[in-house]
Symmetry: C2
């Protein structure tokens, strides 16, 4: 499998990001649509400067499996809508109570709690409006469209992303062991990332071996992504807090570094990325972008 | 069209309610499924003693259009999941802030706000898991299943139920005219009721004339239902408050009686039900249950 240079990867990610943003702009109700308050709130949160990692994974998976990125765009946009809904609800005062995200005030700080709850609800619903619409936004056959809907819904539901968020909320009062932390992350973020890869495969009519490879790749990078997030958070707070970091850490929620130590966490992330890349061998040259994205997950600084 | 006796209607509603409850029990994750807190919260709210009017409308519409109630059960259960999610979110402190519903503490009073938000999210998602599952819960062809999903998603989305709730939230600070009140109710409750009828028709492969009749019926009884709700609320508060009712009314949100007066509101509800029943003529005898349900909407005391 040929490696992508960092410049080629950056170009690929930027191209795909623009494609995803354009699709989101097209598939979301325009801001002036009645009632305009909700459509403004939805667009405020969707166009808040995300990296679009999840939808890009959908496109890259479709391409690896010999499909067209174009055909996977509706599924990619739907996944990003669901990701954004989850961020809006997670930021609510009753949940993580975050006032800022990516440096901007969160949805509920700008539009109020009621509208933020409803903007999340609207985005979750809009994903399914998009995927089931007639004439189809998705070129795939009806049975494949149903599979895409089911894959995304399962990933987002109470045994997927919502289940992970439930465990995250509840862990605040409890002693958390590694098994619980693994459940939390493989569900809160892992389920949807895994679905991105599988949905790209479904749109491209991937065969069984390809689907298994995409699933394995998705599971590995989903978890690696979260471990690296924990490491970056820790390094960020060590830098910011200097010698007060130790006491701050003791108050913090369980993380991979707090349970495994920093070195072991780094080692696990590297080894997961190795496994993810190994799974791509069935795609030959066509897996180059997914391979480069896997490397990016562990080497990114933010 | 033969009229159903009140006893026959009561028997029909009870039979169908039991059928819907059984289906919901089957289609929802069991309470012990991990993470159990969310599945308990979901079941607490779903099994809170509702009349199941919406899912019964799905079944009755399918039967009117010469389909089998059995085939419409998954769509009926999905609609009730979405209705329940909307109640859970509407009751939240940031929305209507209700502590009780049907005499029981609301979801967030029992499980806390975070879990209530997530229980609503889970139910909305579960509806789409159910409708897209493989092997299909729904016997209908893939294209028809996609139409059912789209119909329900559109009805629930930001230009349907969520849009109505947005206007309801925002009207608290504003002077409300009849056009706004009509928008609010035709969207907050009307969209999903209309979808119930159409989804029943889709499952039964209803033709164009039948679909139009079901849509017209759904629009009319959806609005009549809301007007009667307003009237019952007013009569209830008049009884409860005695002579203080006048001042209480001045503080209340806009309602049909407050904008149109009580007599004109009653007249509108009766005339909508008349139109709804008139639309049923295409179904002949098979429209008897829907006809009786329309009468029930205006004569009910709660």
């Amino acid at each position: 499998m040929g490696a992508l240079t960092p410049e080629a990867l950056a170009r690929y990610l930027e191209e795909r990001r623009l494609q995803v943003d354009e699709a989101l702009g097209r598939y979301l109700p325009v801001a002036g649509d009645h009632p305009k308050e909700i459509h403004e709130a939805v667009r405020y949160s969707v166009f808040a400067g995300g990296k679009r990692l999840r939808p890009i994974l959908v496109l890259a998976a479709a391409e690896a499996a010999e499909g067209l990125a174009e055909d996977a765009l509706p599924a990619a946009a739907a996944v990003e809508m669901i990701h954004t809904y989850s961020l809006i609800h997670d930021d609510l005062p009753a949940m993580d109570d975050d006032d800022f995200r990516r440096g901007r005030p969160t949805c509920h700080k700008v539009y109020g709690e009621a509208l933020a709850i409803l903007a999340g609800d609207a985005l979750l619903t809009q994903a399914f409006i998009l995927l089931s619409g007639e004439p189809p936004a998705m070129a795939a056959a009806p049975v494949a469209r149903l599979r895409v809907i089911n894959e995304i819904a399962q990933a987002a539901g109470s045994k997927g992303m919502v289940g992970g968020q439930v465990v995250d909320i509840l862990q605040e009062d409890r002693e958390v062991d590694l098994a619980t932390l693994l459940y939390l992350h493989t569900h809160k973020t892992g389920s949807l990332i895994r679905a991105c890869l599988r949905v790209g495969g479904i749109v491209a009519s991937a065969g069984r071996e390809q689907m298994e490879a995409l699933t394995r790749y998705g599971d590995r990078i989903g978890l690696a992504f979260q471990i690296v997030d924990d490491i970056l958070d820790l390094e960020g707070s060590l830098e910011a807090l200097g010698k007060r970091a130790g006491s701050d850490l003791r108050k913090k929620k369980a993380t991979f570094p707090s349970l495994l130590g920093l070195e072991e966490s780094r080692q696990r992330a590297r080894s997961l990325v190795g496994e993810a890349k190994h799974a791509l061998s069935v795609f030959g040259e066509r897996g180059a972008e997914l391979g480069a994205i896997a490397d990016f997950v562990v080497t990114r600084r933010r």
